[in-house]
Symmetry: C2
Subunit: 184 residues, 2 copies
Amino acid sequence: MTEHKKFEEVTISSELIFKGKIISLQVDQVKLPNGGTASREIVKHPGAVAVIALLGDRMIVVEQYRKPLEKSQVEIPAGKLDSGEEPLRAALRELEEETGYRTDNIRLVSSFSTSPGFADEIIHLYIAEDLVKGTANPDEDEFLDCEAITLEQAQQYMREGRISDAKTIMAVYAWQLYKLTGQI
Amino acid sequence: MTEHKKFEEVTISSELIFKGKIISLQVDQVKLPNGGTASREIVKHPGAVAVIALLGDRMIVVEQYRKPLEKSQVEIPAGKLDSGEEPLRAALRELEEETGYRTDNIRLVSSFSTSPGFADEIIHLYIAEDLVKGTANPDEDEFLDCEAITLEQAQQYMREGRISDAKTIMAVYAWQLYKLTGQI
């Protein structure tokens, strides 16, 4: 047993419950390490990208309505991977579609799971600098405002709850560490 | 229209697809700001807590198998809210169940959504210090190892992918900022 399979839960059976446009849902019956069984409710997601886009002393954020939360939120630019799309290409595409900015200076910060208890979604988080202006072009069912904010504004938005999603809070922390240490 | 309803998507109809033990799934038809319509696939979750538990120069982490990712992961102690449970109480309960530690010194760092595009899950993230030893008591279908790691180990685990979920990466960043600035 390799380290990354410790306490493995082996699939006994898997039932597809729903296949939607973006997510699907399955329920797996699994065998536990002690020989018992349990069911696991699992959301399958195509994966996503997000970008810490720095413009001098400011970071680009977008405000949009988030139906699951029933409120609008200020977040870093992000979006789902298209089928077969390479994450770096998706990051550059979403950055330009949502904010109108392009860059050649972009690198991966981390790839992380958002909700490992019930979903397989992975977000690939990039940092982009040396932005140049292109043309914004959101998806047809996507409505958003774009803004460049300072670190102090980002921290204020966090206190006010206007920024309150994991990837954007992580981005603000990473940005602050980058300013303090020169590394991220 | 208040600021937090900007670009509101008004529900036209909502269909419950699945009601499970932990999550449920609904598909909403919504009216967009431009008058068009769209469907939104929404996972409902009871909410969760997570704890940055500091023991001197170390942070307590637990390793467990995450079926949606098909691998074991090192994460900060965390768990779902029981029905009607107050988040602070849940944080203290999960901390003791998973790690055996108790404390009176605990405070909220932030409450954040994990996947605002498709889920309503909120994680309430706490920081706990001045830990004292009690008795670990995991749930019956929960198998985990507990370990106290330094910041350097945590960063190494992130590079190796053993730590790769949003709340734990956020916790490592927050811990590093706390060490650098004395604040979080």
